[in-house]
């Protein structure tokens, strides 16, 4: 039997293990296990509609998914949606941050208002925007006709559905970039600006040669966070179009959902998820590396 004192010293000796233990256990159970299990399933042909037990098929599920034209299109869409949404969010977010980065009366209130889209429930956002987008009774077409512009089908047409969904994402997530940038701008020192003004630099030159390089690390952080999130976007697309019309707004995540819970092809759904996982991982590593080289 271990005496009290020994027990005490055991804890003391191993504090560096014991304190992080809860976090480690949490990560293993809630994050590592699901990823590994998905990885395992991607090598099986588990399919609930057949009623057969799962069997190991090694890479044949990968082969089948990668050859599927629908998968290639979904992959392309995942990227085009992300690129469209994140690039516009970055530009708008930056511009808004620059505008707000001065002292004015309602600054706190403005920041609060900007937070609202961020804290709204995605499905509720989807339902509200679906009503805005309705081509017959929706607000968007009403505004277009008031401005004398032709009506659009918005999410009702394969050609406009991705930009329409990206617009919702932009509405929701531009404020996040602005808020991150605001904190980045607030931490800049005043001296370079003063000397630039003494030297007679224009506002544009000041922004391009001083502000932008100085906030670049913050900006890249914001872009990384948004890119990873946008690649994984599920809720808004699921709530608004379910991937339609046809498959016109089907991204990898939507495809994986349909494969698992509408087609019940669990093995192939896992393949799609593993590929999405690797993509997100690669993107984050790439951007982290870019950021490091920039700091050097």
């Amino acid at each position: 039997m271990v005496s009290k004192r020994n027990r005490g010293s055991f804890i003391e000796k191993n504090l560096h293990i014991i304190f992080p233990l809860p976090a480690v256990v949490f990560i293993i159970v809630m994050m590592l296990f699901p990823v590994l299990y998905t990885f395992f399933m991607s090598f099986t042909n588990w399919n609930l509609t057949s009623g057969m037990p799962l069997s190991f098929v090694f890479l044949s599920s990968y082969k089948r998914v990668l050859q599927e034209p629908r998968f290639i299109k979904a992959l392309g869409r995942t990227f085009s949606f992300t690129a469209l949404a994140v690039s516009i969010e970055t530009v708008f977010g930056m511009v808004i941050a620059l505008i707000l980065n001065r002292e004015f009366k309602a600054k706190g209130f403005t920041k609060l208002i900007m937070l609202l889209p961020l804290v709204s429930t995605p499905v509720a956002i989807g339902i509200a925007w679906n009503l805005f987008y309705d081509p017959t009774i929706g607000l968007m077409n009403f505004m277009l006709t008031q401005l004398g512009l032709p009506k659009l089908a918005w999410t009702g047409s394969a050609s406009t559905v991705i930009p329409s969904l990206a617009l919702v994402d932009i509405w929701q997530w531009t404020p996040m970039i602005s808020l991150i940038m605001l904190s980045g701008l607030a931490s800049l020192s005043n001296e370079p600006y003063e000397s630039a003004r003494v030297d007679g630099a224009t506002e544009w030159q000041i922004f391009w040669h001083i502000t932008l390089p100085m906030v670049m690390p913050t900006l890249l952080t914001a872009i990384i966070l948004r890119t990873i999130d946008a690649l994984k976007t599920f809720d808004i697309i699921y709530a608004m179009t379910g991937g339609g019309p046809g498959y016109a707004s089907e991204t990898l995540n939507i495809m994986a959902f349909k494969y698992s819970f509408e087609y019940f092809r669990m093995g192939q759904a896992s393949v799609v998820l593993i590929i999405l996982f690797l993509l997100v991982l690669a993107m984050s590593l790439l951007i982290v590396r870019m950021r490091k080289s920039l700091e050097l």
């Binding site: 609930l48 309705d134 081509p135 009774i137 089908a153 009702g156 379910g242 046809g246």
Partner: protein
């Protein structure tokens, strides 16, 4: 210190013993008017039997997702659940997730309802709610245009043409691929086609293609803008806003479109009529949209059986009918109190569909979700081209082959 610990332990044990004595079952319901009705009636059941019923309500696709996950991972504690026989019945049965229902009197249910509730000679599902396809129309708009209610497709097209204007949509029906498949089925039947025949995909037949072309032409020419992304949940607000003159969909929405708290159209302006006839007669779908089952792995099967008898009882079915829910039990439709309350036109359409209707509104197979998406592609192509697509036939052939491959994968090809 030790004594305190002992006391706490004893107290916990006592609590555990008490809760173990209390009989409990876990019931999963859908967010459906009947699910809501049951939920509000369950306290009566608990009071009468002393059994505690733990209820969870989920939206229909989430319900399937939850059940599938729980059953597939063998971690389920579900005892009784609501289920959609045509959507998930075959798959659930194949995976052995349904418990056969014995000692239940099924004589009150129509034969074609029992066909989809049984596998082999055993019943696995108690039919709950039924629905059939109807034509909703605006009495005032038709009257103003001097049109009588269309009774066949030719009249439907002529009426839609006359009613369609910049402000009013002449005709609406679901256009969102997979969701459209169920409402398209009656069109296919009335043209003399089918989705499956003798366990093989036949929606590439001449008759089915004619129906799909007609459906596409109607929606492209007289339908709402953006219809290829519209299911009933997008069409209903338009109808309630008074923007739609005619709409073919399931009978289940009647209550909601005449509800003054939801609709801007006064109830007296909303008409409901039989689905229009096609070149090959009139056999709209009439299906069991919801049923109730006992989970195979339930540890409380006797309690579950008792609960299901109560939850599908004639008494509750009558209460459902009085709340405008169209129940699958035959006898409640003959009840005098019910007939006094329900709209006579709704009763008339039910009687017609029950007599002549077809009990399937989708390809009846395990991989139905994927098959619906495949048929949906053909529907969308037809709508996008107003039914004129020269490649529609080739596309339908390709998709029928894909559905046949699914049937083969699941061992259902040629089996019927």
């Amino acid at each position: 210190m030790k004594r305190k610990l002992m006391l706490v332990l004893v107290a916990l044990l006592a609590l555990f013993a008490v809760s173990a004595q209390q009989k409990e079952i876990r019931v999963l319901l859908a967010n459906h008017p009947y699910g809501d009705l049951l939920k509000s009636a369950i306290p009566e059941y608990e009071k009468a039997t002393g059994v505690k019923v733990n209820v969870e309500s989920l939206q229909e696709s989430q319900l399937t997702t939850k059940l599938t996950t729980e059953f597939a991972t063998r971690s389920s504690t579900v005892d009784v659940f609501m289920t959609r026989p045509l959507q998930e019945g075959k798959m659930f049965y194949k995976n052995g997730w349904y418990e056969p229902i014995t000692g239940y009197d099924f004589s009150d249910y129509p034969k074609n309802a029992m066909d989809v509730a049984s596998f082999g000679n055993k019943a696995y599902i108690v039919p709950l709610v039924t629905e059939w396809e109807v034509l909703y129309y605006r009495i005032d708009l038709l009257k103003k245009a001097g049109i009588t209610v269309p009774t066949n497709f030719a009249e439907l097209e002529a009426a839609a043409k006359k009613l369609h204007s910049g402000d009013i949509v002449g005709f609406a029906s679901r256009g969102k691929g997979a969701a459209a498949v169920t409402q398209l089925s009656s069109y296919v039947y009335n043209y003399g086609g089918a989705y499956l025949d003798k366990g093989k995909a036949v929606f590439d037949s001449k008759e089915a293609l004619e129906a799909i072309r007609f459906y596409g032409r109607m929606l492209a020419n007289y339908g709402p803008a953006g219809v290829t992304n519209m299911s009933w949940e997008n069409i209903m607000p338009l109808f309630q806003a008074g923007k739609i003159a005619m709409w073919t969909d399931a009978s289940v929405f009647y209550g909601q479109i005449v509800d003054p708290s939801k609709s801007q159209v006064p109830a007296e302006n909303v008409g409901i009529a039989n689905f229009p006839a096609g070149p090959k007669g009139n056999t709209p779908f009439i299906v069991v949209s919801w049923g109730m089952s006992i989970a195979k792995q339930s540890k409380n099967k006797e309690l579950a059986k008792d609960f299901i008898k109560w939850a599908t009882s004639k008494d509750l079915a009558k209460r459902g009918m009085l709340a405008n829910i169209t129940m699958a039990r035959g006898s409640v439709w003959k009840d005098a109190e019910v007939r006094a309350k329900i709209h006579p036109s709704l009763i008339a359409t039910q009687e017609y569909a029950a007599k002549y209707g077809i009990p399937y509104d989708r390809p009846y197979m395990s991989a139905v979700g994927e098959a619906r998406d495949l048929i949906g592609e053909v529907v969308i192509e037809s709508i996008n081209t107003a039914g004129t697509s020269p490649k529609l036939e080739a596309l339908a052939k390709e998709k029928a082959a894909a559905v046949n491959a699914l049937l083969e994968d699941t061992g259902e090809y040629g089996v019927y």
